[in-house]
C-alpha cells in the first residue's frame, strides 16, 4: 500500500513541504489515526450538539461567567510565568549538570503528573496551608496565607503544570547541540551570557511548546485548585470550578461554560503556535 516518495528536485521539495503533499498514506496508519482523531474530537462534538445556542448570548453576558473566565486566563498565565521562572533553570540543571541522584530528581519532578490533582492540593495544604510546614511560618512572619486566595490558585496551577514545562525544556536542551555553547565561550561569552544569548534562543521552540502545554494544563486545572484554594467567585473560582458547580444544577450552563473555556484556549493556542513556529 505504501509508496516511496520519489526524490524531488530541491526547488520542488521546498514547494512540496509548504503545501499539502500528494502522498499515499498506509491504511495501517490512516485508520488508527482517524479513529484517534475521532476519539479526541467526538466529545467536543457532543458538547456542541447539546449546547443551548438560542440562549447563548444572554449566558455569555452573565457577569459571573466573564469573571470566572478573566480569573482563569489571568491565573493560568501567571502560573505559566511561574513555571518558566523556576522550570527553565530546573530543566537546565537536569540537562546540563551532572550530579548524584539526578535520576531521582527527574522522577520527583514528574510526581505532579501522576499524583491525582486533589491529592496534590492536599499536599500543598500540608506545606503551604495555615498549619503547614512553610505556610505556618509565612503566616506568622509575613501574614501571608495562600489558601483561599488567587495566589493560591496560581500556586496550585503551577504545581500541576510545571512538569510539562520542565520535561519539554529538558528534552529541547538535550536535543540542542552543546557545542554552540562552547563556540560562544570561545567568543568571550561567560556562562550566564551563553545561557541567555545562545542556549535560550536555541531551545526557544521547546520552551514555547512547554509553556503552551503548561498554560493549557493550568487552564483546565480543577482538583488541586479546589482543594488548595477553595472556591470563591471572583477570587478563586476559575472556569473549571464554575463548570463543575454548574453541572450540579444546570447541564446546559455547564456546557456553555465548557465551550467558552475551549474556545478561548483553542484560539490562544492556535495564535501562539503560528507565531512561535514562524520564528526559527
Amino acid at each position: 500500500m505504501s509508496e516511496a516518495v520519489p526524490q524531488a528536485a530541491p526547488a520542488e521539495a521546498r514547494r512540496a513541504s509548504r503545501g499539502p503533499r500528494r502522498q499515499r498514506v498506509p491504511v495501517a496508519l490512516l485508520v488508527p489515526a482517524l479513529l484517534g482523531l475521532a476519539f479526541l474530537t467526538l466529545p467536543l462534538a457532543g458538547l456542541l450538539i447539546r449546547a443551548p445556542w438560542s440562549t447563548m448570548p444572554q449566558r455569555l453576558a452573565e457577569p459571573e461567567v466573564l469573571e470566572a473566565l478573566r480569573l482563569s486566563v489571568f491565573t493560568a498565565t501567571a502560573a505559566t510565568v511561574l513555571c518558566l521562572v523556576f522550570g527553565v533553570p530546573l530543566a537546565w540543571l537536569l540537562a546540563r549538570v551532572d550530579f548524584r541522584g539526578k535520576g531521582l530528581v527527574r522522577a520527583l519532578v514528574t510526581v505532579p503528573l501522576v499524583l491525582p490533582p486533589v491529592v496534590g492540593g492536599v499536599a500543598l495544604l500540608l506545606v503551604f496551608g495555615r498549619n503547614g510546614l512553610v505556610g505556618g511560618w509565612l503566616d506568622e512572619a509575613f501574614g501571608v496565607s495562600l489558601p483561599f486566595t488567587t495566589a493560591g490558585v496560581v500556586a496550585a496551577m503551577a504545581f500541576v503544570a510545571m512538569p510539562f514545562l520542565v520535561v519539554s525544556v529538558e528534552g529541547a536542551l538535550r536535543g540542542a547541540d552543546a557545542r554552540y555553547e562552547e563556540a560562544a565561550a570561545t567568543l568571550g561569552a561567560g556562562r550566564w551570557t551563553v545561557f541567555t544569548r545562545v542556549t535560550l534562543p536555541l531551545v526557544a521552540p521547546g520552551i514555547a511548546a512547554g509553556a503552551v502545554l503548561s498554560w493549557a494544563r493550568a487552564l483546565g486545572e480543577f482538583g488541586a485548585t479546589i482543594t488548595f484554594a477553595g472556591n470563591f467567585p471572583g477570587r478563586t473560582q476559575t472556569m473549571p470550578l464554575a463548570v463543575y458547580l454548574a453541572l450540579e444544577t444546570d447541564l446546559e450552563a455547564a456546557i456553555v461554560l465548557s465551550l467558552i473555556l475551549l474556545a478561548v484556549s483553542v484560539t490562544v493556542l492556535a495564535c501562539l503556535r503560528d507565531r512561535w513556529t514562524a520564528a526559527p
Binding site: L125, N131, F148, G230, N231, F232, Q237, L245
Partner: protein, 251 residues
Amino acid sequence: MKTAPVAAAAALLALAACGSVDDSMGDGEVDGTVTVFAAASLTESFERIGEDFEDANPGVEVEFSFAGSSSLAAQINQGAPADVFASAAPADMDTVVEAGNAEGPEVFARNQLVIAVPEGNPDGVAALADLTDPGLKVALCAEEVPCGAASQTALDAAGVELTPVTYETDVKATLAKLTLGEVDAALVYRTDVAADGVEAVEFPESAEAVNDYVLAVVGGAPNPAAAEAFAAYVRSDEALAVLTAAGFQAP
C-alpha cells in the same frame, strides 16, 4: 412498574436481563445482583446495610455506586443500569421522576446541618451569628449542591449574612477544609461530623433546612424483584438503627 418510557440503553440492558428477571419473579425469591446508586453521604451506612441485606438474602449481591446525587440522577436519566436510587436531595429525585425513570419516592432518613468546629471548640462558637466574626474562616458548601442550599436556607432563617472563604463543591470537601485546619468552622451535616478532631455545634435554625433522603426503585430496573426487596429493607428498623447510629434521623 415498567409503564414509563425509559432510555434506550436501559431498555436494552433490561431486555438482556429479562430471563433472570422472569425466573426470580416466578418463585417469589430474590437473587442476582442489585445495583444501588446512592448519595455519597450514605457511603458508610449503606455499605453496612448492604452487608446485612446480603446476609438476610443469600444469593443476592448488592453493588453500590456512590456519588453526588445530581451526578447519579443524570446518569440514571442517561440510561445507567441502576435498580435503586437513594438521593440526598428530593430535587435530584424529582428530575428522575420527571424523566419517567422512577415513581413514588419515599423519605427514608433525614439529615440536619450542624456547625463543625475543631475539637474543644477553641473559638467558642455557639450560634450561626458567631460565624460572622471577621477573624473566623468559614467553609460552606456551594449553593448549587444540596448542603449549600440547605446552609443558605438556615442562614436566611437566622438572618445571618455570612461571607465564607470558600464555597466547596460537596460536603466532604467542606469538612476536609476543617480537618486540614484551613478553616475554623464549617456548615456540614450531622452525619459528617464523625471524624476525629471535629465536634458538632447544633443550632436551632437547622430545623428550617432539614434534608430529606429519598429512595425509589428505578423504572426498568435490571433486577426489579431484588430492587423492591432492598428498598423495603432500607425502611426496616434494622436499617434505621444503622442510619441513626451514623447521625441520621428517622423520617
